[in-house]
Symmetry: D2
Subunit: 344 residues, 4 copies
């Protein structure tokens, strides 16, 4: 059986496992106060064009939902909610973690997973025109994901417009980068880490789905936006005792371009898979250039593919076809994709 | 430098690292639905004398604060708080994680970290005698730690009395076992895993401090006490994507008695350390038989010890002495203890 | 100036003021333990065809948002949210009070303020078909308002269908009756208080907008659905010290048909107002038979009406017209309506 | 039967009932935007030596628990708790309302209900000396009550010292004045409203217990400390629809010295009652100079007094005596006190 279900099915890049093994019996202080974490912070800040000595902040948490909840809880006042696409991960797939912190997710239309700057602007300006706005939940931050849950990408100019709206209204722009590597590695992408650091107030670089055992690296160009973040992370249950495990993984990922190489594998194979399906006459129902691919396929073909491969079923379209998702990752092999395509 | 600061300074038991490496590129489904997790659940249930087919539940989370908050949020109604020693970890050292879920920690006197069954009984019976009790926070669960934050142990009969009070009042008894191995391995201990499973409603078996990279295993003899626990864990940010990392570690720990062996190392060396200090004429200020040792030492000696060793400073006692804590763990070596004692 | 802005602009029915004055210096115990409250509970239970001795519960709170938050917090588990029309008061106009308790509002399409039983059924059944439903917020209750925020009414058969869906899925049906009197008094209404008590699990009878100074009466045919409700109400800041003020007002409202008379005044005058506008050639944009009326009017007419009357502006429709709302209440006079209509 | 149970047993000062009746059918806008509320704000600011035009803020809420929770939620960051005496109302008698907002109540020793400036200072300075303070709940505000739950008073110099500590550490001082009138009217008191406004960051002037039907007036010399307070009040369920009821009551209370007169009645009669018991040979167990009096009495006397009077039982002291509380209020009559004393 070959797996295209998701991008967190394998363990970690072998370089990470080797490093874990090599440093295993060293003893360091906990909670991210160790030298591995310090080095990882420097490396990531550098990759983002930021300077820790100049107020930038890099922090490591274990998982995405935890990171979203902790960061948004830090960014939002009690009377504020967070704007997000109605398909955004925080709006749909986090078991209400944001609401559990007391904050409403204010939904915007989803354009293949993306929000539109004009619609963000309209929401906020309409909000403050409403005479009863104090009886409503104020938009206190904008959440986007990059790439989105549908594998789509914001262009640099789209991101600049979103950032402009947020700055005009003085609300932070927060980017969920759980799959960030697969955006950066896409041939269609024109956004860099320094662009993200410049345009977003807070974003994170996902490790869990891009070669780490686990871990998300939060980056804020202005660390003052995340005051008392250690306490808040502890309160949210996200302060890993052996914090060096996070530092060590991100140090490894950001040494010698490993993160890019891992992500590129996922994107390259996903695009090969896509090209193979298209060549066989099938059309994607979302035009993704990252590591997730979305097709409508005949149910008979789906049944046949299931003999060799595992992938997500996204529901019927009509009586003969269904929507499915194929995900490639840093761990996917050329052979797996070839094997799948050979079934077409 | 040798380290006695705490028990989460080294990585993991080599057996765990080997197993992680050996299985690293396997692909499994996420969030604890993998076969490693299934096997670990069976192994732990078995070690606790429980049967998963008979309603028992075993669940894996990443860290202790996360586990305490998630379990207590599952156990408590909105109008209820949790009873705990005033020195309990949830009362002091979790950045308000329990209150962040909306629940008050109702504190009881600490007897070297332990609560007294008679005082629990008195608290609850006084509570319901108060005519205004509906204006107060109802005691909805009892939290204990075993061993306690001060290394002390409940005897089986103490635990039976606590369990009896809880059952009389129909509130769950929840035991924080972050260092559980070091209790079970103590020569003074007469409590077994099946005893805990029988007397506590929910408890957890700590991995982070006893040889795992991270991970806590929650055990409930009656799983119905933890309904919708996957959703709640997700909401609390504790559902690890690559859940098999937890299953695999606990599977390893509970194979061939590894967990016991690791814990025994910590306890044996801590007691050797204690005996060495006592022989040199120093008296512990808490009489611990687990992996944490607490001494009042002359400040001049502390300065000398600090040349070779790192340990926690717990504050002054008078002008000439101070309180310090030494912790041994699964990773502590005989040489380290010998080296420390050679300074006396 | 005459006022059609809303239904909480005047004080209270004179009968209530007289009763407050007559009993003012009596001394009673607090928090709703007084005889006025006891009598009011009996009266309301009786009006709803319920028996307090048989498990029914009647409770009094101060305001609507407070009542919605307290009741839903009592009904929902931590992992659950509440289904509501996207126009529902809890979804829009309560400053995030439901989310502040940790619960997501799961929105359904609004049909002039109403939800459709088929869409509720579809939401819930789709939810449990989703393989990832444990990562989503479970629908734990259904919130409706009667009349809705748009003055519309559920028919008895619509309510029966909603109730049927809720019981099929074992989730409580909760009805916000902040304006309930104006529904019951509508000539188009075929739902009675006993129907509500039978079909809803919890509902409330609004006082604030129907002749009381303040106060909402929560009714549950099965009081066991609201355990520890005094504590929860206190926790939510809704337990009025001088609870008898609530009891006394509802006792007065439910004596000699006062509540019905007050509500009838509001509905009768609203329908007269509506008829007057229709006769003058204007069409309502929502066809309401309760005390709120919604018209699109030429901007020039709106300007003229504003010389004598105050009413809510609901935004433009095209360049020449705007949407406005007129609300009549128990306190509106025939002269006020005549005066307004004389401007047409 | 005569009542000394508490100070919220009667309705309101007749002047308030008259004013309610006289203005009853007037129509005003809601939620505190009416002219009565505006005038009351001016009057109270004036009484406190503050200027609304200069940033001071006065807000009205319905009850004390609601006010404590809303104000503290506004003042505290998510990682912060509130310091309070272990006997403070928020620590004991609010059903966990503060924790329900996510904040821990950090308790200090109670000295007959009061906290000591030196102990506040010690708590905060010890807190920040602790190396693990980020794992603990930061003291983010200081809550005091004036008079305290035990009827005791802070002297002006004690209040100045508390204020000094709070300002040194830059945390707001919040004073619960649910019974404030009875402090101001005490012959032992040397604190004025302008003193409170100057020394506290936020405090409230209780109406519920001092002659109003309900209502608490929050005063902040620097209104910027309570940003978005309307939204927060709405979210907490404390925004009264007919807000003018609050404005009108406080306007009446602060016209012609009514508030002082009402409070003076309660204090004068409480001190007469105290003197009578002392003259009869009984000693108070708390030496209160406000409207609450606390005595240890022989059980036989208590039984006899209960024939004519109702009062609170506070538990046994030994086998022959018990502690009881007598409360006088604005509504207590000379005859009631005489009648009680005649039983001695």
């Amino acid at each position: 059986m070959i797996y295209f279900d998701t991008d967190y099915m394998a363990g970690a890049a072998p370089e990470i496992i080797e490093r874990l093994a090599a440093t295993n019996l060293e003893e360091t202080t906990g909670y991210g106060t160790d030298p591995y974490t310090a080095r990882a912070k420097e490396l990531l800040a550098g990759a983002c064009g930021l300077d820790l000595a100049n107020g930038a902040q890099v922090r490591f948490l274990v998982g995405g939902t935890q990171t979203n909840a902790t960061v948004l809880d830090a960014l939002l006042s009690r009377h504020e909610g967070v704007l997000a696409a109605e398909t955004g991960h925080i709006a749909v797939h986090e078991s209400g973690a944001i609401e559990a912190c007391g904050h409403k997710v204010l939904t915007l239309p989803s354009h293949s997973g993306k929000v539109e700057a004009l619609e963000v602007e309209a929401f906020i300006s309409e909000f403050y025109k409403d005479e009863t706005y104090e009886h409503m939940v104020a938009p206190g931050a904008l959440y986007i994901s990059f790439p989105t849950e549908y594998g789509t990408l914001y262009s640099l100019s789209e991101l600049e417009r979103l950032s402009g709206v947020c700055r005009k209204w003085n609300i932070p722009l927060f980017c969920d980068g759980a799959r960030l590597g697969y955006a950066l590695a896409s041939p269609k992408n024109d956004v860099t880490l320094p662009d993200l650091a410049r345009l977003c107030d807070v974003f994170y670089i996902g490790g869990t789905k891009v070669g780490a055992l686990f871990g998300e690296a939060v980056v804020a160009s202005n660390g003052a936006l995340l005051p008392h973040f250690t306490s808040l992370t502890k309160q949210h249950g996200g302060l890993l005792a052996k914090g060096r495990l996070l530092g060590l993984q991100f140090e490894t990922l950001f040494t010698d371009g490993l993160y890019e190489r891992l992500a590129s594998n996922g994107v390259r194979l996903a695009l090969k898979l896509k090209a193979g399906f298209v060549a066989a006459g099938f059309m994607p129902f979302i035009d993704s250039y990252t590591n997730q691919q979305f097709f409508c396929l005949p149910n008979s073909l789906i049944d046949r593919l299931r003999q060799v491969a595992s992938f997500e079923y996204w529901g019927p379209r009509g009586e003969q076809e269904s929507k499915v998702r194929f995900v490639c990752s840093w761990a996917t092999t050329e052979e797996s994709v070839d094997c799948l395509l050979s079934q077409l």
